[in-house]
């Protein structure tokens, strides 16, 4: 199956392992990713907060590039990019004036009839049967907390793929790997997002609450589908130990990394060696680290 691919900037930098694991796992599962040529920034939160027109025009430029490559379906793994594309699509479809303005900027007609697919949806599209058919290892007994964050689900009127307050679609994917999704309380709680840079303490507290609840509810790992969530939860844990000496480290996995483990892929090809929090204790449970060191 061919599908358009928009990695976005995080996946070329801080979330390199997300990109790496996606490419590896999806190719294992028979998906051919066609990267949009000359793709540019989606505008992320900065454009969105400063200039509405810009925040719509940026994703639409990429739409038009995709259209030229004959792409009909675009897979966008970063939750922030996904959100921007979905919202921009809705905005121009509902507002012909805005559409006109964007067309003036881009100097071409705007195309929006794309199916936009996020990280959870693509695994759903691949399907349980296909994943089970290629599964090498059942991650049975592994208790995992699915963390959705905010951008994957909101605003529900535009995104509309799962319940914004009580989502359950990521849990379904986790079950495909044999792991056990736990019932916990902070699935959609704020991690602090881009306050990470300007107000680190806020992020520290917010993210710690999320990790603590997951720990309390018995999770051994948190699974995410957003580079921002990952960096806040993974990278900030060192500082969490400074404010709370009793802090227990919690490995934070990207959803494709978890699926990759069940497909029997090794640590390095999935980029698990690039995490701040050591994933070895987790892997050793399924004697996987050893495979990686061969």
């Amino acid at each position: 199956m061919d599908i358009g691919y928009y990695p976005g900037c995080s996946l070329t930098g801080t979330a390199r392992e997300y990109d790496q694991s996606i490419r590896k796992v999806l190719s294992e599962l028979g998906i051919n990713l066609i990267e949009i040529e000359d793709w540019s920034c989606c505008g992320a939160t900065s454009a969105h907060a400063t200039n509405h027109l810009l925040s719509v025009a940026l994703p639409l430029r990429n739409f038009n590039l995709a259209a030229k490559q004959g792409i009909k379906e675009i897979f966008i793994p970063c939750a922030a990019c996904y959100n921007r594309f979905v919202v921009a699509k809705r905005d121009v479809e509902q507002n012909s004036q805005l559409k006109k303005e964007v067309e003036e900027i881009l100097e071409e007609e705007v195309v929006t009839n794309f199916n936009i697919v996020n990280m959870v949806q693509i695994f759903k599209m691949i399907g349980k049967d296909n994943i089970l058919a290629r599964r090498q290892k059942e991650l049975s007994g592994l208790k995992v907390a699915a963390y959705y964050g905010c951008l994957l689900l909101r605003p529900p009127s535009a995104v509309n793929f799962d319940d914004a307050e009580e989502p359950s679609s990521m849990e379904e994917i986790i079950k495909f790997t044999g792991a056990e999704p736990i019932n916990w309380n902070f699935k959609t709680e704020c991690c602090g997002a881009s306050h990470s840079i300007t107000n680190t303490n806020v992020v520290l507290n917010l993210s710690k609450r999320i990790i603590d609840d997951a720990l309390e509810m018995g999770a051994e790992a948190i699974v995410v589908a957003c580079p921002m969530c990952h960096s806040n939860l993974d990278m900030r844990q060192r500082n969490m130990s400074k404010i709370d000496s009793g802090h227990k480290n919690m490995p934070i996995l990207y959803l494709p990394e978890l699926v990759g483990l069940s497909l029997g892929l090794d640590k390095e090809s999935l980029g698990l060696n690039l995490h701040f929090i050591d994933t070895d204790p987790l892997l050793s449970r399924f004697s996987m680290a050893i495979v990686a060191k061969e």
Partner: protein, 664 residues
Amino acid sequence: MRIGVFVCHCGENIGKTVDCPAVAKEVIKFPNVVYAIDYKYMCSDPGQNMIKQAITEHKLNAVVVASCSPHMHEKTFRKACSAAGLNPYMCEIANIREHCSWVHDNIEEATKKAIDLIRMTVERVKFNAPLAEIKVPITKKALVIGGGISGIQAALDIAGAGFKVILVEKEPSIGGHMSQLSETFPTLDCSQCILTPRMVEAYQHPNIKLYTYSEVENVDGFIGNFKVTIRKKARSVREDLCTGCGLCVQKCPIKKAPSEFDEGLSNRPAIYVPFPQAVPNIPVIDRTVCTYFKTGKCQMCKKVCGREAIDFEQKDQLITEDVGAIIVATGYKLYKINKKDSDSTVKGYGEYGYGKYRDVIDGLQFERLASASGPTAGEILRPSDRKQPKKVVFIQCVGSRDESKGFSYCSKICCMYTAKHAMLYKHKVHDGEAYVFYMDIRSGGKGYDEFVRRAIEEDHVKYIRGRVSRVYEKNGKYIVKGEDTLSSVPIEIEADMVVLATAMVAQPEASKLAQTLGIPYDKYGFYAEVHPKLRPVESSSGGIFLAGACQSPRDIPESVAMASAAASKALVLFGNEMLEREPVVAKVNENTCVGCFYCKKVCAYNAIDLKEIRDKKGNLIKVVASVNTGLCQGCGTCNATCPSKSIELIGFNDEQIFYQIKAL
């Protein structure tokens, strides 16, 4: 044709912006206008006399009154014409007030427009025909759909006036939601104590025929002459034999079916009476859980019944009744949040954990907990562990006033019942703490605001203005995360129980019934009244009236008032021997009708019948359309649709409108 035009000044209302004398001078020049005059108040006695006099003196055979909207004085002027011997339908109104003098400033422009409007009306009236009002007989019997407090009240009022009433209730007992309530605001009198005497009265009233466990299946006919089909669902218990001893209920081995009456907080057997004071006190077998109906074995109830009243073979019965008026009092439901049960398109509020946590309950469940006849005999206990909660959080507006996740309307009763709940809780658990999260307190009504103040000041209920973002369980407590918007701080309360004031929504089958009845409803499924202020209990279909929460969220006093109002509307109808209605109906030209029946396809009222045209020997010549003037409501869609122009809407026929346009 001799037409008289009467131009009204309406004091200054028209005269200030329309030069009425100039208008009169201009219109007298129109062809066929033989008389034109302006006067200060045409609707006054001298004004009406001028019209009467002119009709006789100038032998007028049509009249145009240029005045206010026909919605105001059309009747007055038609009556005046009638008094002078002119057919009232030869009088037309040109609206030069609401559509002219009041909405324009420029005298010249307004005067010109007034002249145009009169010219158009004069052209139209030339094609008016003398008409007579249509008379139809009336069946003086009413159907009341819904046996809650609204339906009971309406039925009792009509029956009390000496007319027969059919009362249909879909549940096994009448009583509705009011029978589930503990105490009622703002007086705190016991709901069942005031309701049950009414239920018994309705049951025993010689003029009321009660069909419980029954639904209205079909409605044909029109005002004064409805034919109703009622489906009496198989109760599996013969009402003529059952004495209501209750032995079958005691002996039924199935004990674990969730009780509808207790909102799932207790269990009932497969054969059951919804609650002890049920009317009629006759059990019903729930065939979906009964062992006999599932496996063919058991029959315990049949064995113990000394009266042989159990009838497993009973089938649904279809009963037809003729009635003249219908009162719809089908009530409401509470919006169910948990996705499984939700029959609504709205799917918000998963974050409150309803359906996931047993101690997060809705308003009706709290009513059952607080009710002396409830599963805890009136003690406030947590459903999960039957322990007394020491801290209860009440969340208002769950689904109401929330366009993004719920419904945009206000459910109206929640502010009051939440204050009542918090108060009842404090009365029963003296050391308990009650918190209420609210958006605004809406307590308009006699004694209502005082009641809320009493909850706050005397019973020390803590009111927090703000929304709750999440409820989650931690160490056996429910953490309620919210914001106090008055002090702008986030707050967390460790509660033992959470009560959600969920929105009142229309019955899930409300739109289906509306389609059966042919009455309009809004996008939420609430039935629409004709006029929100002046005709609040009438549906737009003649003879069908609305009572209670099926029309919009209502509390008990309002529902009862509406029910009595709807009953009085039915009685107004029954006060007449014959029904008179405007002759604005369609008429078929049988000579040109080709029998394509497009008119029948577009008619929303099934008012087009097939009529066979035969020669003297009885040979069929053709089949043409024929209008049932009793059913026709006069919308004119058939007239616009007819390809051979063989059906006309009397009063709005093609000539009238074409010549009105022509005179532009």
